[in-house]
Point group: C2
Chain length 212, copies 2
């Protein structure tokens, strides 16, 4: 992962949204400045890590003073690109697809859902949240003509590869993958959300608790 030509470790990138969240909270609380030491206590990380992480992107602080909350929040927002808007489609109008189409978090973050697709004739044509479910056969064309950048994959495992390939073929740049299988694709950004993996991990950790 690169930013301004500088190589940024993925672990750092994945911490940025959390910083952004905490800074947003502080901002809401009217806090004007914060030191890495104070923030580290709130976030349960080391002050060193915070300073190292932030310095991957530039010096946002001031010696002897700390960080201006509003400025830092704004800067991290810029880095993350939270203000940008993207058109996205959802593939799969089953439980999960349906759920995600109702999930406000997407549009709130600038991810506009412009289409929902399924292969099931019983679902095609039905209305979800003001959008008609379209035939997945028309998905390719739709992507090309509607400037769609992001595909949300919520299809059954056996269709995952096929649908993903179709998305990529028509110029999708990123896939938010909720499918049970890993995606083995190139030149496209994939964010996996393996809910069942998270659940299985939960079950495992629960076992430990019970063994004690």
């Amino acid at each position: 992962m690169k930013y301004n030509g500088r190589e940024i470790a993925m672990v750092v990138v994945r911490r940025l949204p959390r910083y952004y969240r905490y800074l947003g909270d502080l901002l809401n609380q009217g806090v004007e400045r914060i030191s890495s030491g104070e923030l580290s206590k709130k976030m349960n990380v080391t002050a060193s890590q915070i300073r190292q992480d932030l310095n991957c992107f530039g010096g946002f602080g001031q010696q002897g003073f700390g960080y201006n909350v509003a400025v830092l929040h704004e800067k991290i927002g810029e880095i993350l690109g939270v203000k940008e808007e993207h058109n996205c489609i959802i593939a799969g109008a089953g439980n999960l697809g349906h759920a995600l189409s109702n999930y406000h978090g997407l549009s709130k973050r600038g991810f506009n859902i412009v289409g929902i697709f399924d292969s099931d004739p019983a679902k095609i044509g039905t209305d979800i949240n003001g959008l008609a479910v379209l035939d997945v056969k028309t998905m390719g064309d739709f992507i090309s003509t509607h400037d769609v950048e992001i595909g949300v994959l919520a299809v059954p495992r056996d269709n995952t590869k096929e649908v993903a390939d179709e998305m990529i073929k028509h110029g999708i740049k990123a896939i938010w993958n909720f499918s049970y299988v890993d995606l083995d694709v190139e030149d496209v950004i994939v964010e996996n959300v393996h809910l069942s993996d998270s659940l299985i991990t939960l079950a495992f950790r629960l076992k430990e608790l019970e063994e004690e």
Copy 2:
């Protein structure tokens, strides 16, 4: 994280569900044995890592031969506790809570949804997937009387802490947290699923793509 008194790194634990998935696939395909080398190619990890990971839990392989797929699948399943059943409740009958209550993955994994709670009078009493939405005020008693181990948190951010505390007070052992905020609680297992963090990371990685 401990297993049989042995300390297991969390990074290893989080890889187990993935092994379990791939082994399940191989089993379905009728593959009887596999070497760490072959598996490493399929999974895009090193053979060393696979052997190291598995040996945290015991020697499941056979020198000169590899691993028996069925045996290894079964063993990892046992380690993870995938066969166990747990009662769970969902707090929050909004979009996400509604979605999760319809999400089959939960019950399929032995997580039985026995109750759904909300504080909104308009939602209380309505039917979701065969379960009546109950008043969150009755949640505490419900947990105690229904042997509930797991709480799924899908409430608005401002209620998160309060609802989590109520859950913990009444003996919930683990929380599957979909809320926007981190949970700062002790003696309870927390699995965070920060969908918005995942989305923000996606947006960031997309930016890099566009800058090139």
